[in-house]
Symmetry: C2
Subunit: 246 residues, 2 copies
DNA sequence: CCTAATGTTTCACCACATGAAACATGGTTA
DNA sequence: TAACCATGTTTCATGTGGTGAAACATTAGG
């Protein structure tokens, strides 16, 4: 072992267990043990610890574990002041009112993107976006934006990741990213979700860094590829304003 | 050591570190080490682990730690469906509109209570209640309710806790709890906070268990002890309705 | 009744978490 | 400039305490 670990294994495991609950809201002991490949007795001890500290609770009925009050308590103490999710909410609502479609805000987080805020279209047929969803970086308009404006090294790291799908034509893909950087927005048409289309633009903060991606999405019945391109300038203007705030 | 620990010390410590951020949103290494009485090198390793997993981040400017994205992500996956905080919000808003004062919802959590929801009075002078605040169980109208309707064993455990203040007259205190159970509400007048008065009632869920405490509070200038008793029946009716929902 | 799948506890082993101490860094003072 | 102090970081010997196999307990289902 050349580069010595300076982390604590038991804690890593406990945190991994907590993150399991982003995929399933209720989990049994063996279920968790299966997901993180540990012996159930080990998981049992970790769960006892998490439960004792209130980070998970046991459902009285199902006997399964779910996230506890402490998680919620912690989240209320996240520093709200500089949190884009609350800071940009009003601007997102205005954009939704203007375009009439669902508006989402994404943050790059490692090899994924995270939908940190969303305001839903109020039309009868609409795309419903779930806040907190973790989505892949290799598909969708917002992904393209986040990848296109990432650093070279960052991109290389992503592409080399085993999770990243094999590119049939790497040059064409890089060409597309270049195009996105040039015109300042990306589109997607039934790419991640059938029946959904989206436009996304980067939000550049005052330091000149791409801090997030802003997208507008809706059903293909209402949004043609033409519509996407019509939306783009409106989005860009909104993103520019938002960038001033963060 | 007679009763063997079946918890994991390193994990307990890591979780304790996380909870430190409910008191301070930004913390340095030695600061944390001081709070949980550990050597800074130990804390350093734990923090590296927490950071690697995204549960804390380092502020670029101050070099201090703050809670990370993962905490927020986890919190969005708390099962919202049966969460009283969102379920009872509309009813709380109606109550606020009716009485014109700040309405709070408390949950018992171990030796404390937790304000899990609050809607503020919209009068100029008002009591501002912070959601997520952890408060003691030995003072305040809501505390009295939560203690009064706790089980005998629970009460004993609380009273024997070293944190619990010495009771000058235990019999009088028990007498007061009995009175609260009889009339179904508790009051406080400049008890926890100078200048604030409150009434609180229990919320009994469909299983007949006291699941939470509902309180209305405001400045003493507007709320006399008489007002508190006038509010009580309104609160009780609201709590009855809320109880049906959880 | 047996079987299978849960969760729980015990226990011997030795990996690995631990804290002291040394080191590095930046900021403040004289 | 040096001396100082308060941060954070890394190293390392020590033995505690985390680990997983296995045994046990419990429940549900066939």
């Amino acid at each position: 072992m050349e580069d010595r670990k300076l982390t604590v294994r038991a804690v890593e495991r406990a945190l991994d267990i907590l993150m399991c609950f982003t995929r399933n809201s209720e989990l049994g002991l063996t279920e968790i043990a299966g997901q993180i490949h540990l012996h159930k007795s080990t998981v049992h001890r970790l769960m006892t610890t998490l439960e004792e500290r209130g980070f998970v609770i046991r459902d009285a009925a199902t006997e399964k574990y779910r996230l506890g009050l402490k998680v919620w308590e912690l989240s209320t103490h996240l520093s709200k002041s500089d949190d884009p999710a609350v800071l940009l909410l009003p601007a997102m609502e205005r954009l939704r009112d203007r375009l009439g479609e669902t508006v989402s805000l994404y943050l790059r987080d490692g090899k994924d993107r995270l939908r940190i805020q969303a305001v839903q279209s109020n039309q009868a047929i609409r795309r419903v976006a779930q806040v907190g969803a973790r989505l892949p970086l290799y598909v969708g308009a917002s992904s393209k934006v986040l990848v296109a404006f990432a650093t070279q090294e960052d991109q290389q790291e992503l592409f080399q990741d085993p999770e990243w799908p094999d590119m049939s034509d790497p040059d064409a893909y890089l060409q597309m990213l270049e195009e996105i950087r040039e015109r300042g927005y990306a589109t997607s048409f039934e790419e991640r979700e059938p029946g959904a289309a989206a436009v996304a633009v980067p939000i550049v903060n005052r330091s000149g860094v791409v801090a997030a991606a802003l997208s507008v999405s809706g059903p293909v019945g209402r949004i043609s590829t033409d519509t996407l391109h019509e939306f783009a300038p409106v989005l860009k203007e909104a993103a520019r304003e938002m960038g001033m705030m963060i």
